[in-house]
């Protein structure tokens, strides 16, 4: 049953809107927690965030002004489930209500963990972890920069190992706070300053073990970027058990403890020392080879040089052999000849006039010309005649010559 019009309280739009605002203020004035999924997220150029919170049945507009969202640790984005704290406000100009968000927590995961995952994702996409960007560690770092707390255990460990294992390595410490507010900025600045100073071969970014909280600075973007931008190779040596920090992921090499980082340098030094020994041995081997091969050549040459003389000796020997053989042959020849001669002489002996003489014949010769007398007519009385017998001779004077009437043989 409608009241007469004049009795009714009539609001203007502004008035009723204001009334609604008052009701909201009274009801939600101390702030409320609202759970929902983020959608239609927009970051305006003013720095304010505008988005919607929704669930399966309803949508709530939300705004988070820059003053509040500066504190936000993670990146707000569509699809993430959040719990927001704030007031519900009426926006009269549009006839809308919206939540003015003061705080947001991710649902089911800590803000920090979500922030870490989000940042990791972002840096991964940007290529900060690319292995192509990893620089090789220096040849041999003779000067090492360390970004860490000058009072911490990390620097003591590093100095201790290096002193013992590689005292040839100079250390430049760029002290930085490694935990707490502003630590990440100091670490990043330390890396940058060592780059500007440009007198170290290698940078170790380090701190000793601690809780995830303690080590958080090494997960911050500013540190990751400083490591990425360093022109000098960086070893990340943040003491940790399970989690790998963003600093580790960006660094050219990461190890689990400061001690391990220092040991890498010691190992490098020892490797070089061993390599130098190898090179030395190789040189000794090579030079020995060279000398022995030259020696062999020399021996071969000497052989070649000696050879004419050797050949002469050979020839001489041959000659000796030959001449030995020759004289042997000669002796044989002589022997044979002699034997033949003696047999001939023997046979000759039978025919010799002397042999005839021995049988009682004699031979006479004219003394004047020593001619053998064969013809009686050739001698005259008064000739002197030499008569030869087998065992001597005698000389006689011819008294008379007689000729035979008949021819007879001798």
């Amino acid at each position: 049953m409608p009241m007469p019009l004049e009795d009714k309280h009539i609001y203007t739009v502004s008035q009723i809107t204001q009334e609604i605002g008052v009701i909201f203020e009274n009801t939600f004035g101390n702030g409320v927690w609202v759970e929902g999924e983020v959608s239609n997220f927009k970051a305006a150029s003013s720095g304010h965030f505008y988005f919607s919170l929704k669930d399966s049945a309803a949508v709530l507009s939300a705004a988070m002004f820059n003053r509040a969202n500066r504190e936000l640790k993670f990146q707000l984005q569509d699809g993430i489930k959040v719990i927001c704290f704030g007031k519900i406000d009426v926006y009269g100009a549009r006839g809308q209500y919206q939540m003015i968000v003061e705080k947001i927590e991710p649902k089911g995961i800590g803000a920090r963990a979500l922030a870490f995952e989000q940042l990791k994702e972002k840096l991964l996409k940007e290529g900060l972890f690319d292995s192509a960007h990893k620089r090789p560690l220096p040849f041999m770092p003779f000067s090492v920069g360390v970004v860490t707390s000058s009072k911490g255990a990390a620097i003591r460990d590093i100095l201790g190992i290096l002193k013992k294992g590689a005292p040839c390595v100079d250390v430049v410490i760029r002290s930085a706070r490694v935990q707490g507010e502003g630590a990440a900025q100091e670490i990043a600045q330390g890396i940058e300053e060592l780059n500007q100073f440009n007198q170290v071969d290698l940078i170790i970014v380090s701190r000793g073990g601690g809780s995830t909280e303690d080590l958080w600075a090494f997960n911050e973007e500013v540190v990751a970027r400083a490591v990425y931008n360093s022109k000098i190779p960086v070893i990340s040596a943040v003491g940790h058990q399970i989690n790998i920090s963003l600093c580790d992921l960006v660094a050219d090499l990461f190890v689990e403890t400061p001690t391990a980082a220092a040991k890498i340098i010691v190992d490098k030094k020892n490797t070089f020392l061993a390599e130098l020994d190898n090179l030395r041995h190789e040189m000794v081997f090579s030079i020995s080879e060279t000398i022995s091969s030259l020696k062999n050549n020399l021996t071969a040459l000497r052989h070649a040089l000696k050879s004419p003389l050797d050949r002469l000796h050979e020839k001489e020997q041959l000659l000796d052999d030959l001449s030995a053989g020759l004289s042997q042959n000669m002796r044989q020849l002589i022997e044979i000849t002699r034997e033949r001669a003696s047999s001939l002489i023997h046979r000759l002996g039978a025919l010799s006039p002397l042999a005839v003489l021995s049988r009682g014949y004699s031979l006479s010769m004219l003394m004047k010309d020593e001619s053998v007398i064969k013809d009686a007519l050739r001698i005259k009385p008064g000739d002197r005649v030499k008569t030869i017998l087998s065992n001597g001779s005698f000389i006689s004077l011819v008294e008379e010559v007689r000729r035979n009437e008949r021819k007879t043989g001798f």
Partner: protein, 79 residues
């Protein structure tokens, strides 16, 4: 950095000499000369690595300029 450069250069020279020597194409005179040079380089590189006079310093930036200050190694360095 300078030390590193010298070391690196020496090591490269040394490696070249070792190659030349093992190549066996040098005359005895050259080989002996290279050998002596190589042994000296190896010696100087080894000495550099075995040197025990390290410096430990703190890097300090003041008014845009860098200075090095000796670091007290007992872990009680000031700053």
């Amino acid at each position: 950095m300078k030390e590193k450069q010298v070391f690196e250069d020496d090591l490269k020279k040394l490696q070249k000499i070792v190659e030349e020597l093992s190549g066996g194409k040098l005359t005895l005179g050259e080989a002996l000369k290279k050998y002596e040079e190589g042994i000296n380089l190896a010696e100087s590189c080894s000495q550099t690595l075995q040197e025990a006079e390290r410096k430990v310093e703190s890097l300090i930036k003041k008014d845009g300029r860098y200075t090095l200050k000796e670091f007290a190694e007992d872990g009680e360095g000031k700053d």
